[in-house]
Amino acid sequence: MNTKELIKLNNQKRKQLTKENEAYYDDMLVYIRTHLFLSERQSEELLMELLNHLLDAQAEGKTAKDVFGDDPKTVCDEMIEELPKEQTKNAAAFIFYLSCKVIGYIMIISGVGDLIFSIFKSKSSPIYIGTEAAKTILSLLIIFAAVWMIFLWLKSSVYKRFSKFKSGIIVGSISCLFLFDVLLVSRLIPAFGPEIHINGLFCLCIGLFIIIIATCFNRKFQIV
């Protein structure tokens, strides 16, 4: 059974929990899954084990609190400390896959945009390879930083309710990151590198090609 199937099975089995036990278990699940550096495989095996245990205990009339105690965070922290970390190889494959997807979609969108623009404008504007590369890398970094922040936020909100004010600050800074990316990055980076002209259709095709390659890559190696 691979990790994907394990997650699917977990989703099905979780429905058998009572409302109270499900709330308790869901918190543990989110808390453990949002620890991004842990081996996904080992984490899911543990989550399945805990779920099976809880279902057995539930059948005998016990609650999640009876099984795991009043302080689930401490129990989870103890387990997280002992869980092995994700292998660098798997983490790198994951980041590579996500980067390909992001780049692919950006190219498709700008390709389509360019095609629509070309209806109104006869001459396409030139592209500077250096600028484009810098923009792409910066955008990827910003996307990963934002995802990272969202996970941190999720993780720490499981066993500690954030005030509206604090949540506002977090959402605000994530939005600022994206605004900075969209509005300022392209203006801040000067034009450098060789100048090329590509038309929208070409850009669109490359984007589609990257997405297809990334999807095949994922099928083969079961990354996501």
């Binding site: 059974m1 099976n52 129990v75």
Partner: protein
């Protein structure tokens, strides 16, 4: 408090190794066994950090297998290194258990003599 919980952890590790030595079990079975022998104060959930640590140290090994009741369970069995660790634990335990009992007996009997 800290020392007490450390001591309890070490002992729990030892008895878990002993149970798994006798037969391979999955998490829930293991917690039932502990309760069956009277360790009711140990919350069921606290076996999982210990199981993870024993796996990390390669003393036990988990394997997904079909259980008699149906769903796949992770059954644990002892590795060679685990056998060795169990033997070490037994030796340490025996070197502590006897003296501790004697000390307590001696200490308490002294106290009773004093109050009599």
């Amino acid at each position: 408090m800290k020392l007490r919980s450390q001591l309890l952890k070490g002992i729990l590790e030892g008895v878990i190794l002993a149970i798994i030595h006798r037969e391979s079990v999955y998490g829930y079975e293991l917690s039932l066994k502990l309760q069956h022998f009277g360790l009711n104060d140990v919350s069921e959930g606290s076996i999982y950090p210990i199981l993870l640590r024993l796996q990390k140290e390669k003393l036990i090994c988990g394997e997904m297998k079909d259980s008699p009741s149906g769903p796949k369970r992770k059954y644990y069995h002892l590795t060679e290194k685990g056998q060795q660790a169990l033997a070490d634990f037994l030796r340490e335990w025996e070197s502590i258990q006897g003296p501790v009992q004697n000390i307590i007996r001696w200490g308490l009997s002294h106290e009773y003599k004093g109050t009599d």
